[in-house]
């Protein structure tokens, strides 16, 4: 029986280890090319939505969930998101990324499924730079309603409900300056087409309302998973929300979804690629972008998430009920939306929001 190792064996071991390390690195480099990191919202990127693409191409889609649009922008701007291959700017926020030179130009001819996009979204100038070059492609849209427990409210709530002392301790607002201050603006009487252009006086009114609202709130929600948990555990009965808690809990709890007449916050997500993306990754990312505009993703996200893509590719195959569930039964709905857009004085909005939270 061998009792120890000779110097020759130790050196051979080191050599083998080094070789394994080098080979391991090489294979890791290959593996890196077959993976794309997609920074998106939790609700847009369930693993099952991308399974078909992964099977078809052998490319793994690694999901990196966002907390807010502003955080996404800042992460790109500061270089702290170097591993992201695909990002998710909003339709109304795309100009910031384009102006800051953070996005790579997109050749729409490489996305065959773009042919079926709704015209209003396919031809939007919001994703072009001053010279008309395309930098982002809208792929998903919907509305952000009020979600509430139908057993706790006699009437369908509206934005004033979120400021009503009668419901103290049952309400929640998103920890996000843009939407929360806009809602306060609507309650203060600012028309929906001017709410994102509020002047200092109107902002001061909104701030007053938000400070008065604070003791009525159970909490500010951070992520949509957080809010779903708050509804599921009975902590919150009504909140400005995304539709996720409604869809997740409607079978278990009496859940309702309200579309306030004062204005419905619409949203539209775009697909974009960081300006520094390598050519290999760009090819893969464009393939994935085409997948996002295709039938498979549209079917899965309509079935599970109740969201509509910007493509009409599956619309005619859906029943009237299925169309209604994802708001594509009447396309006129898009005209009543408010599209949240960061105003020029957005830093003032952020300061107000921080002052409200610290009050």
């Amino acid at each position: 029986m061998q009792q120890g190792l000779t110097r020759r064996e130790i050196l051979a071991g080191f050599a083998a280890g080094t070789a394994a390390g080098i080979l391991g690195s090489t294979s890791a480099a290959h593996a890196a090319v077959s993976e794309l990191v997609w920074a998106t919202w939790e609700s847009n990127g369930h693993p099952e939505y991308v399974t078909a693409f992964e099977k078809e191409t052998g490319t793994r889609i690694k999901l990196s969930f966002l907390s807010s649009e502003d955080a996404q922008f800042a992460a790109l701007k500061t270089g702290s998101a170097a591993d992201w291959d695909m990002i998710n700017p909003s339709l109304n926020g795309s100009w910031r990324y384009i102006k800051a030179g953070l996005l790579k130009e997109i050749d729409l001819s490489k996305l065959p499924n773009a042919a079926r996009m709704y015209d209003v979204l396919k031809t939007t100038p919001k994703v072009l730079d001053d010279s008309g070059k395309l930098f982002a492609v809208p792929y998903l849209w919907g509305l952000n309603p009020l979600v509430y427990r139908t057993d706790k409210f006699d009437n369908e709530p509206d934005y004033t409900t979120l400021f009503d002392p009668k419901y103290s301790g049952q309400l929640a607002m998103r920890d996000y300056a843009l939407e929360s201050i806009a809602i306060a603006g609507l309650v203060a009487g600012v028309p929906r087409d001017k709410v994102f252009l509020m002047d200092a006086k109107e902002l001061a009114e909104a701030k007053k309302l938000l400070i008065a609202q604070k003791p009525l709130l159970r909490t500010y929600w951070q992520t949509i998973g957080d809010l779903t948990n708050l509804f599921a555990t009975g902590e919150v009965s009504c909140a400005f929300s995304w539709r996720v808690p409604y869809d997740e809990l409607k079978g278990k709890l009496p859940m309702g979804m309200a579309k306030p007449k004062a204005g419905i916050m619409g949203w539209c997500d775009c697909f974009g690629m960081p300006a520094s993306l390598s050519p290999e990754k760009t090819e893969l990312a464009l393939k994935f972008a085409d997948y996002l505009l295709g039938a498979q993703y549209a079917t899965e996200i309509a079935r599970i998430g109740n969201y509509a893509t910007t493509s009409s590719i599956i619309r005619d195959d859906l029943t009237k009920e299925q169309q209604a569930a994802i708001f594509v039964d009447d396309m006129e709905v898009m005209k009543s939306f408010m599209w949240p857009v960061a105003p020029d004085n957005y830093s003032d909005w952020l300061k107000i929001w921080n002052e409200v939270k610290a009050s």
């Binding site: 502003d70 955080a71 500061t78 709130l217 500010y220």
Partner: protein, 290 residues
């Protein structure tokens, strides 16, 4: 100069100094820059604008003060709860000391988010505590203050940071010569007197380590206040995060971060001064028995 063991510490000390001084230097430089929001660029400048905002807007002082109070309250409570636990652990047989250590550290093996959601289940309106109280007819309506309140924040901060206090005190207690305690008792000292006159001074190093660690960890926590503190969960750390990330206002974020650091450092120095004034503590720190 001959090579000695002290020299071995130089590379590490250098790394520590550079790792600490360089980021602080950058923060100081950034704090006098300005931001061009049109180009989303930081502009090198020598502006006092950010520092002016820190000094003139009471929100910043309020948030820093809140963090200091949070840190002091948590550290104080941890010391109160930690001493009996550490003393009890020191009296255990050797095998059980190991078990106690594992039990004490178990909460740290789980992620902070897991602990936060677990606390929500325990303290929520329909949670464990309210269900038990209701089951015994002790309450009619759920106790809402249990969750999303300053009470929740400090309870969880205490729970999260207690191991750092207990371990530090326990190690100090283990080093105490038990004959000194026995001598005090033989000479007529009551248990409380033996604690205040013998154990407390002799374990001041452990107490100091625990206090500094818990104070820093609690004052700098962001997730616990944010996800369990409800509308009272605003912290300077969250605001710094907000300013660095959301607002792209790096100069203001840097000025706030430095202000927080200066205040926390001042508080820690004050705590150190007070500890050194404790009877006998200075001698223990100097390596002499009182």
């Amino acid at each position: 100069m001959p090579f000695s063991r002290v020299h071995l510490a130089f590379p590490v000390a250098l790394a520590l100094v550079l790792g600490c001084v360089l980021p602080l230097g950058l923060l100081l430089v950034f704090s006098v820059f300005t931001v061009d929001m049109d180009a989303f660029e930081m502009v090198p400048d020598l502006s006092g604008h950010s520092w002016g905002q820190i000094l003139s807007n009471p929100v910043f002082a309020f948030l820093i003060g809140k963090a200091v109070v949070s840190g002091l309250v948590t550290a104080g409570l941890a010391a109160l709860v930690g001493y009996p636990l550490a003393l009890a652990m020191a009296r255990l047989p050797v095998v059980w000391k190991g078990v106690a250590n594992i039990v004490l550290l178990t909460p740290l093996y789980t992620g902070e988010i897991v602990r936060i959601y677990a606390w929500r289940i325990v303290l929520g309106s329909e949670g464990l505590v309210n269900a038990v109280l209701k089951g015994f007819d002790l309450i009619d309506a759920p106790l809402k203050f249990l969750l999303f309140s300053p009470f929740t924040t400090h309870l969880v901060l205490l729970y999260n940071n207690l191991p750092f206090m207990v371990l530090a005190i326990w190690i100090s207690v283990e080093l105490v010569d038990h004959r000194l305690i026995e001598a005090a008792r033989d000479l007529g000292a009551r248990p409380v007197e033996a604690f205040t006159k013998v154990i407390l001074p002799l374990t001041t190093p452990g107490l100091a380590v625990g206090l500094f660690a818990v104070f820093a960890l609690a004052a700098g926590d962001m997730l616990t206040p944010s996800l369990l503190g409800g509308t009272s969960g605003a912290t300077p750390m969250a605001m710094i995060d907000n300013l660095f990330g959301t607002a792209f206002d790096w100069p203001l974020a840097s000025a706030l971060a430095l202000s927080l650091l200066i205040v926390l450092f001042g508080c820690a120095s004050l705590m150190a001064g007070l500890l050194l004034r404790m009877r006998g503590a200075r001698a223990v720190f100097a390596g002499r028995l009182p």
